[in-house]
Structures are given as structure tokens and as C-alpha cells.
């Protein structure tokens, strides 16, 4: 290759060429994707065939010329050969024969792999001769000096003088260029090749240079250099889940850095800086609000004539501060947009190559299948997409190999001989939903059970006791295979267990469902660090939460006519179906379960094929918000999808619909004594909760006396533990106690008042108002609080008995 020097057998790239070569790799990968798409369509005979042929020929011509420019003679020759046979096929005016499609697709694979090897610092390896031989011999034709093949139309992108001067022929020309003899190829050339590529002489030198080790090309699966028998099924080349790994991990790293010269750590640091800026904006907003509040409270003073200029100036400053905050918010939004653009890719970039995978697998197995993609335009984090590539390939491989029947069997079952495989992608906030579904035979549960038994995965009794979904999930067990013989595609029992492991490594989950004779679906849920989503903001008790809008079918008001309230279950008659009603406050452990009041909003939430009516206290509206994953310590909580930052910097917790819809049938816990904790301190509530739950109590906690009265009116509690001091303006502990004792229905409820103050007068007043006990918070050590509560409950019980 021109543009480098040899150092200890390793090609050291001319720094001037490294960047353009990396761009060329990117460009070639893009061309290979386009060409694959066109070749598959040509093979199926779809669309405007001459136009498709022409497009691929142009791509090849560009690859030929650019390879030559870089001195990659072998690649230039290969592109020329591919172009020639393609033009022959075009002239034949028909669909592309499958064997030729095979050969061309493999040549594109090899082209990309060879080019990658070059960027990794290797001398250009020879293009696999077997692949070139498989292309067959192009018709002899005259080639103009500029390398333009007559009939191929005008070909853009190749500068005169850089096209390879290789005469097409029955065999690829790998002979050394007359300008550089074989001896000079490896020694002389590099020393004078540290020149800008535009100044370099004829590029065919590299073709003759003895290659070091041949790169581990994907195409190296070809058994021998002799022309393969293309009538036979080919090895499945495109299905290597990690094709980049084939050329070595170091190369991948190098390539990744070059192809996308932004490091993930840099992006993370940049994102942190943006968040810093957001903090700044929040502080500016808070100060503007504080200034406004001060101005309003000082209005009577500032209204004095001599202070009016001061008031006006302060108002001006506040207005300016507010405007600064808004401008900062706009800058943050723009920066976030830029980061998003850098860090994301359309899902299609990962999914489109699977068309080729399905096609190659079908060729190898004699099956017929078509892949459809729904939601391919969604954009996701590049790193997540990279991580998903392997599992997706494996799921598609599994669908074709195990799910789809042979055409004859499908016809016999009155199915279309061509099977459908559908990949669906959907993003909800920071969650990605991926589904790979086929309309094949479904999982053969008997065969899975037998295989599990034979392979020692489960005993006969265990298998007999398994439900259908449990049997289906056996397909994820390591070592399980229903194949009796190992072939190139399956039989080793390695595949879906790897998918499961990879999905779990990404903190995701995978599930399988199947209908015998109708098909199988694999559903993958994957969390992302960040993602935006429309949320419906709702409240329950004193909390505000977000529900992904995509999961909300409708919001209806509770009416007696549509409610069915039983002793244990409540249902909503909705569109000819009875949906279980789930109270959000109860669901989150914030209060006892209660029947919806007339007019109370009910959200029809659907997820994972189930629907519930979610009763909330209030619906606040829809917002498009950025949802982030919770900190690592909290990610295992199944209830929460993540948290969104609201305008003032506080968090909105986002509920996971898949969790909510499974909770209606949840068993009520064994009846325990219930305690209502009232404290305006979030830490005090947490501490009381920790102590009381350790003593076996069910605890609900609220931050104010008013909310405590609401809770007490709706549900019965065995005791109330209340702080005395509350926030200014709120009903304090003494006031709450007075109201409790004055309410006949509540007067009997034991109440313990707590305070940070060890004050005899306060203690006496609390007891005089009817408190059962008074404790300082210092006395609220686990044993003392539980002991006092137990004693109070005993006294009350004895009192009632007496």
C-alpha cells in the first residue's frame, strides 16, 4: 500500500493518509450496505432492475478508483472484477442469479474486511482468490483509458489517471506492476510513499507485495482456494454476530476511534458539563423567583416616591435575570440536541444488514422468509445498538433455523411458503422494546421437554410440573438443543442462552411466547441511560409520578354505572371488557386500597398484552421529558423506569407500565397492624418506617396533619405516630391530635407524639390532649419506639376489653 513505511513487518501508516483511509473504510461500509440491499432486491427481481444494476456498478467503480488511489491494488482489481461480472449480469437483463448474488455478497464482505485489515496497519492482504474465482469470468470487453466500462454509463467520483490499468480477463490480475518489480514491492515502495496520495504513482504495487498474515476475513470460511460449488448451500457468512471481531479486538478499537473520533468518556464528561449548566440555570431561575418574592413583599415600602427608582431598577434586574435563565435553557437544549445527534444512530443501521442474514440463512437451509422491520427509524444510543447487534443476529438466526418451516411444510399447513419475520422496535423514554416474531411452527414444547430431560437440565417430575411458559423459557438454558445432529447453524445448544446473558448484561430482560403452528415472539426490554418520552403526570396521595403516555390508552372518569366493586376486587366496565381497577396510592404502598370516588380519573394502562384501570387522584397533563435511569442502587426496583427532571430541578419518578399491569392479582399481605406516621421530615419518616417495619408493622407515612386526616378518614389505622412540629402553616401534631380526639370515628385510635424537644411542659400538654405517649426523637431508638407502641396498643386493648 502506498502511504506507509514498514517497521518490523508492520505497516506504519502515513499520518496524512490515516484519516482519509478511515473515511474510506466508512464510505466502503456504507457502500457495502447499499450494495447488499440492491443485490437482494436484484435477486428477488424487484423494482427497476437496470437502475439497481447501474447503482451497484457505480459504487464498485468508485471503490475501484479510490482503492487505486490508496495504492490498494488487490482491492482495486477485485472491485473491477465484481463490476465486470455485474455488468454482464445487467446485460443479461434479468434477476441476479442466486449463485452470483452469493459470490458478490461474499466479495463485498471480503472487501470490507480487507480494507479494515489495512487500516489496522497490516500490509494489504491478497483478496481471497476463491471468491474472485466464484464470480466467474467476465465477458471480454474493451476498457477505455479512464477505466470506464462501456455500457455502464457515466461513472462519477474517479479522477482520471488514478483508475487501475488492469485489463479484465478470466483471472484477476495479481501481477506486479511493471513500474515496481516484486523485489521492490515490500522494501522500496514504502520509503518513498510518504507523500500525499494525490502525488503517488501507479497504485498496483501492493497487489504484488507478499502479504504478511492473511486477515481473518469473514470469507475465510471458504474451505479451499478452488472454486466452491455454488449450487450447494454456502456457509452462512453474514451471520457472524460480531463481524468486526474477526479481524481482532485491537483493530476494532482502532477503527472505532477513527470512525467516530469521540470517546464515550468525553461524551459523558460533556454531558456532565451540560448538567452543570442546567444546575446553573436552575439557580438563576430560583434567584429570579426569590427576587420577585422579595419585591412583592417589600412593595409597600418601595412604593415610597424616593424608593421608586430603586424598585424599578430591581424589577429590571429581575426581568434580566429571568431572561438570562431562559436563554441558558435554550443553550442547554441546543447542546443536548447536539449530543443526541452525536451519540445516536437510527436502529435501521443495525437492522438492515439482517435482510442479508435472513437471505443467506434461507439459502443455506432451503427455506423462504422475508424480514420486515417496524420502527427502524427510531434513533438509539450507538453503544446500545452495538451491544444489541449480537443478540439480534442470534434471534433472527433462531427464527429462520428453528421457527420457520420448509416451504413444502408451510404449503401443507395452508401457509404462505414464504415465512414472515418481523422485528419491531419501540422506544418509551429510557426503555427500548424489541420484538423478533416469526409466523413459523412455534416452539415444540414436547421436544424442548425431552431435550431438557436428556441433557439433564430438569427431571421428569420437574418438567411435568412446568407450565407452558416455563417450558418455553427452557430454550434459554445453556446446552439445550432440540437438534439431534450438529450442523453449521445449530445443534450445539449455544445461542439463546448467550442472548439471555447478553441482554441481562445490559440490565435488560427477555421473554418468549409461542403459539403452536402460528409462530414465536421474543420480546426484549432494554433500559437506556437516557431517553425522552411523553409522560402523563399524575398524582396519588402527596406524590406526583409520570406514566409513559404510550402505555395510556385513555383516561376516563369513574362513574357508578361502570364500576363493579366486590369485597376483594374492583373492576371497570370499559369497551365491553372488565378491567381490574388498581389504586395507585395502594400500589405504591402509600395508603390502603380504596374504591374510586365518583369522577376520580382512571387511566386505561396497557402493557405486555394486559390492561388495567389505574385510579389516580389527579391528572396533571402531558409533558415531553427526558427520562434517565435511576442510580445503580435503585435500578433493580421493578416499579420504576427512571426519573425525569422537572423545570425546578426536582425529580418526577416514572412508573413502569409492565410492572403496574401485573399487580392487580397480587395477594394482599398477611394482615399486620397498620401505623400512620406523620412527619414533615423526609428522613424522620424513613427512620420511623425502618423501625416500625422491622417490628412487623405496615407503615404509611405522610408529611402533614391535613394529609393524615385524609388518610384516617379513608382507612383504619391501629396507631398514629406524629411529630409535633410541622412546617409553618401546616396542621401540627397537637392540632392533629385534637382533631382526632374530637372525631368520634377516630377518637379511639392510639396516638404517640414525638418531638426533638425534651420539654416537660410540651409533654404534659400532649398527654393532656389525649396522647397515649410522648417520646423525644432521641428516644426513638428501635427498641424503645417498638416497646412504647406495643405497650400503648396493649393498654388500649385492655381498656376496650374492660
Amino acid at each position: 500500500m502506498n502511504g506507509g513505511v514498514m517497521n518490523g513487518g508492520v505497516m506504519v501508516l502515513d499520518p496524512l493518509l490515516a484519516a482519509p483511509l478511515a473515511l474510506f473504510v466508512n464510505e466502503t461500509e456504507s457502500y457495502a450496505r447499499t450494495a447488499t440491499e440492491q443485490l437482494l432486491a436484484l435477486e428477488r427481481g424487484e423494482g427497476d432492475l437496470p437502475k439497481r444494476y447501474q447503482q451497484i456498478a457505480r459504487l464498485l467503480h468508485t471503490l475501484k478508483g479510490t482503492s487505486a488511489t490508496f495504492g490498494l491494488g488487490g482491492l482495486s482489481d477485485a472491485a473491477h472484477r465484481m463490476e465486470s461480472v455485474l455488468v454482464d449480469a445487467r446485460d443479461a437483463q434479468g434477476p441476479l442469479p442466486a449463485p452470483l448474488a452469493d459470490a458478490l455478497l461474499r466479495c463485498f464482505d471480503a472487501f470490507v474486511a480487507t480494507l479494515r485489515a489495512c487500516t489496522a496497519g497490516q500490509e494489504e492482504p491478497p483478496f481471497p482468490p476463491a471468491l474472485l474465482a466464484a464470480l466467474g469470468s467476465p465477458r471480454a470487453r474493451r476498457v477505455s483509458n479512464a477505466g470506464v466500462i462501456p455500457g455502464a454509463g457515466p461513472l462519477p467520483g474517479v479522477a482520471p489517471g488514478v483508475a487501475p490499468g488492469v485489463a479484465p480477463g478470466p483471472a484477476p490480475s495479481l501481477a506486479p506492476s511493471p513500474a515496481f518489480g516484486p523485489d521492490a514491492a515490500s522494501e522500496d515502495r514504502p520509503t518513498r510513499a510518504i507523500l500525499p496520495s494525490a502525488l503517488l504513482p501507479s497504485p498496483l504495487v501492493a497487489a504484488a507485495s507478499p502479504a504478511p498474515a492473511a486477515p481473518q476475513l469473514v470469507a475465510a470460511a471458504s474451505p479451499a482456494p478452488a472454486a466452491p460449488q455454488l449450487a450447494q448451500p454456502l456457509p452462512v457468512l453474514a451471520l457472524d454476530p460480531e463481524p468486526r471481531q474477526a479481524a481482532g479486538a485491537e483493530q476494532v478499537s482502532w477503527l472505532d476511534q477513527t470512525a467516530w473520533p469521540v470517546q464515550a468518556a468525553d461524551i459523558a464528561a460533556f454531558t456532565h458539563e451540560i448538567e452543570h449548566l442546567r444546575d446553573l440555570q436552575l439557580r438563576i431561575d430560583a434567584r429570579a423567583r426569590e427576587l420577585l418574592r422579595l419585591l412583592e413583599s417589600a412593595e409597600p415600602l418601595l412604593a415610597a416616591p424616593r424608593l421608586r427608582p430603586l424598585r424599578d431598577r430591581l424589577a429590571e434586574l429581575r426581568s434580566g435575570l429571568h431572561a438570562d435563565g431562559e436563554e441558558t435553557a435554550e443553550v442547554i437544549a441546543a447542546l443536548e440536541g447536539g449530543v443526541k445527534q452525536i451519540c445516536t444512530l437510527p436502529v435501521r443501521t443495525v437492522l438492515d444488514p439482517l435482510h442479508r442474514a435472513v437471505r443467506d440463512l434461507c439459502r443455506a437451509t432451503g427455506k423462504r422468509a422475508r424480514l420486515s422491520i417496524v420502527g427502524g427509524d427510531a434513533v438509539l444510543d450507538r453503544r446500545l445498538l452495538d451491544a444489541l447487534r449480537g443478540p439480534l443476529v442470534q434471534l433472527v438466526r433462531n427464527a429462520v433455523d428453528h421457527g420457520v418451516e420448509l416451504p413444502e411444510a408451510r404449503s401443507a399447513a395452508s401457509k404462505d411458503p414464504e415465512a414472515q419475520i418481523v422485528i419491531t422496535v419501540e422506544q418509551q423514554g429510557n426503555l427500548v422494546f424489541l420484538e423478533v416474531a416469526d409466523d413459523g411452527a412455534g416452539i415444540d414444547r414436547a421436544a424442548v421437554g425431552t431435550a431438557a430431560l436428556l441433557q439433564g437440565i430438569a427431571t421428569r417430575e420437574q418438567i411435568a410440573a412446568m407450565s407452558a411458559p416455563e417450558l418455553d423459557r427452557l430454550v434459554f438454558c445453556p446446552g439445550l438443543s432440540t437438534r439431534e445432529e450438529i450442523d453449521e447453524l445449530s445443534g450445539r445448544g449455544v445461542g439463546l442462552d448467550v442472548v439471555l446473558a447478553e441482554v441481562r448484561a445490559l440490565d435488560g430482560s427477555i421473554d418468549v411466547s409461542t403459539t403452536p403452528g402460528q409462530g414465536t415472539r421474543f420480546a426484549v426490554h432494554m433500559p437506556m441511560e437516557i431517553g425522552s418520552s411523553w409522560l402523563l403526570v399524575v398524582s396519588a396521595v402527596a406524590g406526583t409520578f409520570g406514566v409513559p403516555l404510550a402505555a395510556v390508552e385513555a383516561v376516563v372518569a369513574a362513574r357508578d354505572e361502570v364500576l363493579r366493586v366486590g369485597r376483594r376486587y374492583m373492576s371497570l366496565a370499559h369497551q365491553e371488557a372488565l378491567l381490574p381497577i388498581v389504586d395507585l396510592g395502594w400500589l405504591l404502598g402509600l395508603r390502603e386500597r380504596k374504591a374510586p370516588a365518583a369522577g376520580q380519573p382512571l387511566l386505561i394502562v396497557q402493557a405486555a398484552g394486559r390492561r388495567i384501570a389505574l385510579a389516580v387522584d389527579h391528572v396533571g397533563g402531558e409533558q415531553d421529558l427526558v427520562v434517565r435511569a435511576l442510580p445503580a442502587e435503585l435500578r433493580a426496583l421493578p416499579q420504576w423506569q427512571g426519573a425525569a427532571t422537572l423545570a425546578r430541578g426536582d425529580f418526577l419518578l416514572v412508573l413502569r407500565p409492565e410492572w403496574m399491569v401485573t399487580q392487580d392479582a397480587r395477594e394482599e399481605p398477611v394482615a399486620t397492624r397498620r401505623v400512620l406516621v406523620v412527619d414533615d421530615s423526609v428522613t424522620a419518616r424513613a427512620l420511623h418506617r425502618a423501625v416500625l417495619e422491622s417490628g412487623g408493622y405496615t407503615v404509611h407515612a405522610v408529611p402533614s396533619g391535613e394529609q393524615a386526616l385524609e388518610q384516617l378518614a379513608e382507612a383504619g389505622y391501629d396507631a398514629v405516630i406524629s411529630d409535633i412540629t410541622m412546617e409553618p402553616g401546616a396542621l401540627d401534631g397537637l392540632g392533629l391530635l385534637t382533631r382526632i380526639r374530637a372525631t368520634p370515628a377516630l377518637a379511639h385510635v392510639p396516638a404517640i407524639l414525638v418531638s426533638v424537644l425534651d420539654d416537660a411542659a410540651l409533654r404534659a400538654r400532649a398527654l393532656a390532649l389525649g396522647a397515649d405517649a410522648y417520646l423525644t426523637k432521641q428516644e426513638c431508638a428501635a427498641g424503645r419506639l417498638l416497646g412504647e407502641l406495643g405497650a400503648v396498643l396493649s393498654r388500649r386493648r385492655v381498656g376496650r376489653g374492660a
Partner: protein
């Protein structure tokens, strides 16, 4: 951040330039004064109820007011909620609930943000803004070498003046003991058996 050493501006008088160079040399010297080094292990002291905790200053990132914590219903009892700190959500843990509630004198009003391995942050509550102090090295060394101390995040030591002090100096062990660090049940396995919740 890239630091660029700059020479004094040429317009400065030589005396001023000398002064600036002397100041720069002063600033460039080791920040830890060898004299101070002898004083002991620098820590932040905080109290929860009757207990006195010491946290090595190297782990301390900030002390912020406990004002905008968002409670997480159905979280474990030692989790108070999450708080926004420098743009990221940080889990707030209850010191007392984590290490055993021994009562508290005032409602905690301060959060101490700690940085653990891998730059992970957590916040813990305390009753007052922590104060800086130094623990005798010998006492700390003895506590660290005590039997079983290696596996516990908190080591107990007896300070000559303060009495019993709980030294929280192994944040790796603390983080390792928290949910989400492996070994804990997966979220879906806990489904349905947790009925606790805290009103925000």
C-alpha cells in the same frame, strides 16, 4: 482542564515579577504540610443521635441542605430518596437506618455527598454540617486491623477525647452492601413482597 504556565507580563516591574514568582512557588509546594501530616487522618465528623461518625475527607464531595429529596416509594428502608447533585441523580441513604437506628436528636437537615469507587456518588443524612477533625493515625490503624474489620464499611475506634467513634472509611464495602451491586435479589424477584412506601 489544561493548565498553562504563564510568565509575568513583561510590563511588570522586576520586583513585582519576583514577588509573583515567589507566590507561585509557594502555591506549587505540596499542599499537605508535613507538620499537619503528623496530626492524624483528616476526617469529617458528624453525629446521628448518640453515635459519632468519622468519614475520611478524601471521600467527601459536598455538604448540601436536605431540601429537595424525592422519596422513592417501595424502596428499601434505608433509602430516603434521590437528590440532584451536579446534574445527576444521587441516592440518599439514611445513616441511622443503614447502621441501626439509635434515635436522633434533631431531624437531619444536611446531606453529605460521598464519592466511592468508580466515582460513584451517594449521599447520607446527618444532623449538622460535618466539622473537620483529625484522628490519631495509630488509633485508626488499630481499628483497621481489628478482626473482621476488613469486611465492614464501619470500624469502631476509641478516640482519646471524643470516646467511641465509628469510622466509615471503606466505601467499597458500603457500596458493595447496597442493592444493585450483585448478590441482591433482582427487582422482579422482590415483586409483591414489599409493601412499604413513603408519601413524598
Amino acid at each position: 482542564m489544561k493548565c498553562i504556565v504563564r510568565e509575568p507580563e513583561p510590563t511588570l516591574a522586576e520586583a513585582e515579577a519576583r514577588l509573583l514568582r515567589a507566590r507561585a512557588a509557594e502555591l506549587a509546594r505540596d499542599r499537605v504540610d508535613p507538620g499537619l501530616e503528623d496530626e492524624g487522618v483528616p476526617v469529617a465528623m458528624l453525629s446521628v443521635g448518640e453515635d459519632v461518625y468519622a468519614i475520611p475527607l478524601e471521600h467527601l464531595r459536598a455538604a448540601i441542605p436536605l431540601a429537595t429529596v424525592t422519596p422513592i416509594p417501595l424502596a428499601p428502608p434505608h433509602v430516603i430518596g434521590i437528590v440532584r447533585f451536579r446534574g445527576q441523580a444521587v441516592t440518599v441513604l439514611s445513616f441511622a437506618a443503614l447502621f441501626g437506628v439509635g434515635g436522633w436528636r434533631v431531624d437531619p437537615a444536611v446531606l453529605v455527598v460521598l464519592e466511592g469507587p468508580g466515582s460513584r456518588l451517594i449521599a447520607v443524612d446527618c444532623e449538622h454540617i460535618p466539622r473537620a477533625a483529625a484522628l490519631p493515625r495509630a488509633v485508626v490503624a488499630m481499628a483497621r486491623s481489628a478482626q473482621g474489620a476488613r469486611t465492614r464499611p464501619v470500624r469502631e475506634l476509641v478516640h482519646p477525647e471524643l470516646g467511641r467513634v465509628l469510622l466509615l472509611d471503606d466505601l467499597s464495602a458500603l457500596f458493595g452492601a447496597l442493592p444493585g451491586q450483585g448478590g441482591e435479589r433482582r427487582g422482579d424477584e422482590r415483586r409483591g413482597d414489599e409493601r412499604r412506601g413513603d408519601g413524598p
